[in-house]
């Protein structure tokens, strides 16, 4: 049986981000892309599940960057059996979550997996997270913010993190969609030697797809928040400083 992992490359927020002249997207020429860190956890969780169940992991991604191969080869090197890349007339665009889900649904239906895993969120999913969106379009049960899962007797048992350490354990009938916050263990390391070996020996299946409606998020403008780079210095006596700190915490609901 099959477990699908959806993997996405996203603009690297470590880099300084600039806004394109259009005002509705990042300056994509200045952006560098990395694998969405949560998708890396989704892959790890999928591999852990598959190692226990004997399922086959298929990594699927939409190539919006022209650089997705590296991500997919890495997934293959880590233990995915197949990798499928969707390509189309959307390279360099900011794909909306809804559009991504629409592109993915036919592939998922064709693969007929019993689980779809993807990262809980991405830094650019303005119109919602991918996992629940996919679940809605597929009509499957789902849970996000997943921190652990197990396939037991035809269901998946999922640990979903709420807050303050509280977790919710759900049993979902299969097939189901999971949005992974953290795999049960840190994503494994695969040495580049292995990735390079896979690049020589394995291949990525490519599917040309049509761009759907609502391709990009409906942004009016993007802007950089006004934020001082350095700390605002609290002055006064220790008592006054303490007062200010408490005030700041209260204002943010931290007290």
């Amino acid at each position: 049986m099959t477990i699908v992992v959806v993997m996405e490359q996203v603009p690297d927020v470590v880099e300084e981000l600039a806004i394109a002249p259009s005002g509705t997207d990042l300056d994509r020429d200045a952006v560098s892309y990395v694998l969405n860190e949560y998708d890396d956890h989704a892959l790890e969780e999928a591999l852990l599940l598959a190692e226990a169940s004997g399922d086959e992991v298929v990594a699927v991604g939409i190539d919006t960057t022209g650089e997705l191969d590296q991500t997919l080869y890495t997934a293959l090197a880590k233990g995915a059996r197949r990798a499928i890349k969707l390509t189309g007339d959307f390279e360099g665009t900011w794909l909306s979550t809804r559009a991504a889900a629409r592109l993915l649904v036919p592939v998922i239906q064709e693969l007929g997996p019993r689980l779809v895993l993807t990262g809980v969120q991405a830094p650019d999913d303005l119109d919602g997270q991918l996992a629940p969106t996919l679940a809605a379009l597929l009509g499957w049960p789902h849970a996000s913010v997943v921190i652990g899962s197990e396939l037991v007797d035809g269901v998946v048992q999922v640990r979903k993190e709420l807050w303050g350490g509280i977790t919710m354990t759900l049993e979902l009938e299969l097939p189901a969609v999971l949005g992974v916050q953290a795999a049960r263990q840190a994503p494994r390391y695969v040495p580049i030697s292995r990735v390079r070996q896979v690049m020589r020996e394995a291949s990525i299946e490519t599917r040309e797809v049509e761009a759907p409606d609502g391709l990009v998020p409906a942004v009016t403008t993007l802007r950089v928040p006004e934020q001082a780079g350095r700390a605002e210095i609290l002055t006064g006596s220790p008592a006054e400083i303490a007062d200010r700190i408490i005030e700041l915490l209260r204002a943010r609901g931290l007290l």
Partner: protein, 321 residues
């Protein structure tokens, strides 16, 4: 018909969460401008009694055992069943672990627009503009809403919980559980609370972190008191862990753990790059250090050039006294 601004009530173990009131406050401000009314969706098992405490014009109550913990599938299916008929102007859902699953699912199922990570929602002229935090908070996206009903997944803590009911308690409307709940594919939902002994600083919402400025192991007690008063866990920079004052599981930084709490309160940490690497993504960083040139002030949102012991004691007086 009056337009409605709808809010999904998030609750946990019989208590509405703080963000529910923040969203009700936001809904009220929008409604006041638009002449709309505020409608709360209250789903759960035996939660009807909460309806009266909610500052909304009307509370739509659906009770069913499957809704006990607001699990994603049942909650989303109820909303998807009710919304096409109710057609609110906006549906406000908290962008929390519970809410994010529901918001995206419902919006996709109904093909309604959605703005997630919303930190501001305000009128600009006649239009509503939602502002979302993207790219790790480095970019804000303004989205001008059109006339279609729209789902807003709003960040917790971003809006003031200042809503008051203008008039009498709202109208309470009980609805039957929709048929979809009979055919759920989510089974068995259980909540677990963490064991008190476990401290995992990577998951802590609030961290009080101490560095060499704490001077001696005996002084850790003061920092521990500050942490307790703030509901935070205690963490440390490398030298303290090396000295064996705290276990390695409390070490923040390159060679320790990477943390992203809502609050990082740094006491006596100068901020070596190796340390900053582990905590610079915290949402709010407040640093107290005697050295005005301490690099920690380069990443902190707020800083105080002061004696950490004096500030700690002043804080304790206020928080405990």
């Amino acid at each position: 018909m009056t337009q409605r601004i709808a809010v999904l009530v998030e609750h946990l173990e019989g208590q509405p969460t703080d963000v529910t009131f923040e969203l009700l406050g936001l809904a009220r401000r929008i409604a006041n401008t638009d002449g709309a009314s505020v409608q709360a969706y209250l789903f759960g098992e035996r939660v009807g009694h909460l309806a009266e405490s909610l500052p909304a014009d009307s509370v739509t109550v659906v009770e069913h055992s499957a809704l006990h913990h607001l699990a994603p599938e049942p909650t989303a299916r109820v909303l998807a069943a009710l919304l096409p008929a109710d057609l609110p102007r906006l549906l406000l859902v908290p962008n929390t672990s519970l809410g994010m699953d529901v918001a995206a699912w419902v919006a996709a199922a109904l093909e309604w627009p959605l703005v997630a990570y919303c930190q501001a929602l305000e009128h600009r002229g006649s239009r509503l503009v939602a502002t979302a935090q993207l790219f790790g908070g480095k970019i804000l996206a303004d989205v001008t809403l059109d006339e279609r009903p729209t789902v807003i997944a709003a960040l917790a803590g971003a809006f003031a919980a200042d809503a008051v009911n203008p008039g009498a308690p709202g109208k309470i409307e009980r609805r039957d559980a929709p048929a979809e709940l009979a055919a759920l594919r989510t089974r068995s939902v259980v909540l677990e609370r963490p064991e008190a002994a476990d401290v995992d600083i990577t998951r802590a919402e609030k961290i009080v972190a101490v560095g060499r400025g704490i001077e001696s192991k005996d002084n850790l007690e003061l920092a521990e008191q500050v942490a307790q008063a703030l509901g935070a866990v205690l963490a440390a920079s490398r030298p303290l862990v090396d000295a064996g004052w705290l276990p390695r599981s409390r070490q923040v930084g390159k060679s320790g753990l990477k943390v992203k709490p809502k609050l990082y309160f740094a006491l006596g940490i100068s901020g070596a790059p190796e340390h900053l690497e582990g905590m610079k993504d915290a949402e709010l960083i407040i640093a107290v250090n005697k050295d005005p040139k301490a690099p920690i002030f380069g990443v902190a949102d707020y800083g105080a050039v002061a004696d950490l012991f004096e500030v700690s004691e002043a804080l304790l007086e206020r928080l405990e006294g």
